[in-house]
């Protein structure tokens, strides 16, 4: 049984939300609810342990790349690539991302990763990013805000009161859809926003599939890739890649249009419908906000950590690394790492460095220190890798399972002693695309290679021509239905266009902050920025054109860079055209680590080898940060912290007959708030525990 660690609160009640579904893996959150109905403390618990770090022992370094992809089938690519960075590092290659190692060759050495391989790695991983973010929004997170079709697996619903009225299936324009358990079938002039969202849900299934098909052009297959190897990629270095590049571009252009036309607009509008889950800056412009209501559920820690990702050919990072605690002075809680040089000068050594600041705590986890390291643990419970091996955190793997200790199989990584949030919201804050209380229109600017938020603006207003007609129709009709009947109270006009104008104002004025909605928006906007690095800057023709086909793509992108390497090259070391640099496996004990960004946040793999065989392997995974239990100081992990302050609607008892199950019924209480907050982190528990 679990040993909980919840603060004492007078008059409180404990509640469990387990399983937190529509995530990867087995997660529960136990919350302590005060007499006022708000959550006072939380214990997030991961419920599955498999032991990856142990069964990697004794294997060839390169096989780790394939093994660790099985840590998680939803995000295998980042594990595979981060492991590849680690293997690059331990074998002595350079020019990969964050390959911290004394063996690391200088940039420009013969053992640099070939540019063609670097680009293929970026293109495979970025396809996975788009897949992950789109899947998360539509298929994992959205059903907590939008009732799905009225049939299993989307039923039973939470209590009606938990859904915005326009996002209930009973609100469909299509009465068949509402009652018979089928999805809407037409983009009719009368469709409601619910119909539009469900149609997008189905479309998004296709779009996420396309991202896999694009990635598989280079990876062989998805979700588990088959092309990464220490020193490059396995793809035939003599192959002419023109056809693959063209097909990749064609596929991702479809995906990019979906992101611009549908994904970003719906992700932006959702905050309008759920002001409680949005940040404090945005509340007053939502018609669903009642003055005095609490907002900002799920705000979390306000402290972010990013390793950075996507090395460019000039050694800049497309996603910068760094740490940011909102309001902190420059220093260990506020700095950025923009390129390879800064990776070496900041993350690798000195006061800001990873060896100095990264620890992993197990005081509330289901582990005990491994016996031979007892002396090391005795120095401080939060620094198990201290001592002789301090510069190589690879040795924190030395724990063993103790199932009746603590409350979670997750460990608790900390940066300079403090918990951090990782993930797209962290990426956006550290990269300056999100600034607390600043309009997105200001903080996401248009640059030479990437169009910013102003792509959505036309003549000072929101450009409806760039938004899918299903969504615009839905908003207009739902506006009429909801508010047209009372034009005095809601001055939108009987034609519903008033609501559109209100939403236009809302979208243009959105400010970044700390909330559940900010996490959802961060994924959408990160996808918007990233897809432009993949296939080119997105621009629109002019206001006279119709959507879905009006967007064009620029020529500065990874795919275009790769096209310049498509001639049949000689398969030699770091020569233009090759995909792999040959280097023999070093003898003796070597240590290295790789780090980068996954769609769920900052990921690090650490490896030690002896004559090429693994003697230690350690992963510090995004959800290990976000889902971490309390540490020895009692500091909550990011999900735990985000739940605190949110309501737990105990009054909403709900009974639902289970379809086809002989009339049995399930009396339930709430938990949807906790589910929404936890899901906004896109937790991956298989990753976090591995």
């Amino acid at each position: 049984m679990s040993v909980w660690n919840l603060n004492t609160v007078a008059g409180s009640t404990d509640r469990e939300v387990d399983p937190v579904s529509r995530i990867e893996g087995h997660l529960g959150v136990k919350v302590r609810v005060g007499s006022d109905g708000f959550i006072k403390d939380a214990n997030a618990h991961g419920n599955l342990w498999r032991g990856f770090e142990n069964f990697l022992l004794g294997r060839g370094a390169n096989d780790a790349i394939t093994f660790v992809q099985r840590i998680c089938g939803v995000c295998p690519v980042p594990h595979g690539l981060t492991s590849t960075y680690a293997v690059d590092s331990v074998l002595g290659y350079s020019r990969s991302h964050i390959t911290f190692s004394t063996l690391n060759e200088a940039v420009g050495s013969p053992y640099g990763i070939p540019p063609k391989a670097l680009l293929i790695r970026n293109l495979v991983l970025s396809a996975e990013f788009l897949m992950s973010s789109i899947t998360h929004f539509y298929h994992l997170a959205a059903p907590s805000y939008v009732q799905g079709p009225n049939m299993p697996p989307w039923t039973p619903y939470f209590a009606e009161a938990f859904y915005n009225p326009v996002l209930r299936s009973s609100f469909s324009a299509d009465t068949v859809s509402a009652t018979a358990g089928v999805v809407p079938v037409a983009n009719t002039a009368t469709m409601q926003i619910w119909d539009a969202v469900i149609i997008s849900y189905v479309r998004a299934l296709r779009i996420r599939r396309l991202t896999f098909e694009a990635g598989a052009l280079f990876a062989g297959r998805m979700p588990m890739t088959s092309c990464f190897v220490g020193g490059g990629v396995t793809n035939d270095g003599t192959e002419n890649l023109t056809q693959r590049c063209n097909k990749y571009e064609e596929i991702i252009q479809e995906v990019g249009k979906f992101i611009v036309n549908e994904y970003v607009p719906i992700a932006l509008v959702l905050g309008f419908l759920y002001p409680g889950f949005d940040n404090d800056h945005n509340k007053t412009r939502s018609f669903f906000y009642t003055p005095g209501d609490p907002v900002g559920f799920g705000a979390g820690l306000g402290r972010f950590l990013v390793w950075g990702q996507f090395p460019e050919l000039n050694d800049d990072l497309a996603i910068k690394g760094g740490v940011l605690e909102l309001g902190a002075p420059a220093g260990v809680y506020n700095f950025t790492v923009a390129n390879k040089g800064e990776v070496i000068s900041k993350f690798l050594s000195g006061a800001l460095s990873v060896p100095t600041n990264l620890t992993e705590d197990i005081s509330n986890s289901r582990y005990v220190p491994y016996v031979d390291d007892a002396a090391v643990y005795a120095t401080t419970a939060s620094r198990p890798f201290a001592g002789a091996e301090a510069t190589y955190p690879g040795d924190i793997t030395r724990t063993k399972p103790a199932r009746d200790d603590g409350y979670s199989y997750m460990k608790a990584p900390r940066w300079a002693g403090k918990p951090c949030e990782v993930g797209p919201m962290a990426d956006m804050f550290v990269n300056g695309y999100f600034q607390d209380g600043v309009d997105l229109a200001t903080s996401i600017p248009t640059s030479a290679t990437v169009s910013g938020y102003d792509l959505y603006v036309k003549a000072g207003g929101l450009d409806l021509d760039i938004i899918a007609p299903t969504i615009v129709n839905g908003i207009v009709n739902s506006g009429k239905f909801l508010f047209g009947v009372d034009p005095v109270a809601y001055p939108f006009g009987a034609d519903g266009m008033g609501l559109v104008a209100a939403i236009q104002t809302w979208v243009l004025g959105i400010q970044a902050g700390l909330s559940t909605m900010d996490r959802l928006r961060a994924r959408a906007l990160q996808s918007f920025v990233l897809v432009q690095r993949m296939i080119g800057k997105i621009s629109k023709s002019d206001g006279s054109v119709t959507p879905l086909g009006t967007l064009s793509f620029g020529s500065s992108s990874w795919i275009n860079q790769l096209k310049s390497y498509t001639g049949a090259g000689v398969n030699a070391n770091d020569t233009v055209g090759s995909t792999w640099a040959n280097k023999s496996i070093p003898t003796g004990i070597k240590k290295g680590w790789g780090a980068g960004q996954a769609p769920r946040g900052s990921l690090m793999h650490q490896i030690t080898i002896n004559n090429g065989k693994i003697t230690a392997y350690q992963c510090i995974v995004p959800t290990t940060w976000n889902g971490s239990p309390k540490d020895v100081l009692g500091q909550n992990g990011a999900i735990e912290k985000a739940c605190i302050g949110a309501p737990f609607a105990t009054g909403a008892t709900y009974t639902k007959t289970i379809t086809g199950q002989g009339g049995a019924s399930i009396p339930t209480v709430g938990g949807v708030e906790v589910a929404r907050i936890a899901q906004s982190f896109d937790p991956c528990i298989a990753c976090a525990i591995h």
Partner: protein
Amino acid sequence: MAITRRQFVTRLGALATAVGFSQVEVTKIADAFAGNSNAYGGTFGKPKVVWIHGAECTGCSTSLLGILEDASGKPFRYDSNATVAGIDTGTALGLAGVTNALGGAFPTLTGGLRADGALVNIADVVIDVIDLQYHETVMGPAGDLAAKWLQDFRDTYSTGSNDPFVLVIEGAMQDARQGGAWGNTGTTPWCSIGVFDDGSHEQDMPEVVADLAAMPECAAILPIGQCACYGGYPGCKPQISATTAKKGLGGFDPALSQTGAQGAYDFLSQYADADPLKAAFVADVNAAAAKVINVPGCPTNPWWFVLTTVMVMLKLAGTDLIELDAGRRVKRVYPGTVHGAFCPRYPSYTKGIYALKPGDPGCLQKIGCKGITASSLCGKHGWNNQQPENAGTLSGLNKNGVGGHCTVAGYPCMACTEKGYPDAFVPFVKR
């Protein structure tokens, strides 16, 4: 967009043809569905499915989400004549002008099902083909709503005569009673599903599987992926000696897996309980092992799963054409080896051209390819709806193929469909 029984039968027949059924057999399939057979309960003849996650990575579910098939069994491929939009809308198949799932004419993109049932994607499967009752990664409910559904299903569903359901298992069984390589590490489950709001009823995943499998209503058990079939990664062992293990990690036995993880057949057939009052239940669980039909892969290709599912559905409707191999896989779904005329690098093999390091052209046998060992349709029906261009011809070093297969990307086959994977097949890449 619910489909009619006739459309459903047509589609099943087409899929069955694709795996090599004879016309006579396809007719049997049609007969089985032609009457008002209520073999599946539910609406539109959809079988109920309960999908349970154990020690897994959700990779097989993720893979299944990527399905896009022509129900006539023709593999799609991307080439200059078939645009992305064209494939999804049917124009590439010469099917333009047919009303699409959203009621419009092609080429409006919908992600939905064609009215005549030529295309199958995951939305069709979940909405039209099966009645997916429980699947933690896609279902709407969370928390108590989900946990109590599962608890109720365990406790009350079985009456001995209720509608049949299919149990799909993704991930290995890690029995809480097993300490694995570590010996006694406690009693808390290695993997639990759902705790009630009042803190009670932590459900041990393997116990959930045992309960569901033993129900007479459980018509078939489909473990999807290596872990659920044979233990897979959670069941593998470090490649180190006992001395090294005890020195380096506080003493674990490297001859055992970390948690004692098992595949479904082994778990069910070896299930035991010292309590004599549970003897009848144990016997039911042991007997349930016979319902297991494995669908291995790492991950499992959606095509293999759909083909196996179709054959199970036929069996439930009275037409049993399933023949299992030694690994309890359907033989027709895992027919020949990856090595052979359908491997895109086979022409190199016939010419004696071998890759000697990563990134080389040529046959991959010398850098670790296990294609000779692996039974799989990979070469014939590629991944992610892309087909190796070679297509069984020996017409030279054709490099125009664009994907769909590990060896296409230069990665040696790992034999991920075989029992014993991964330990029996490492190292994957020799360099």
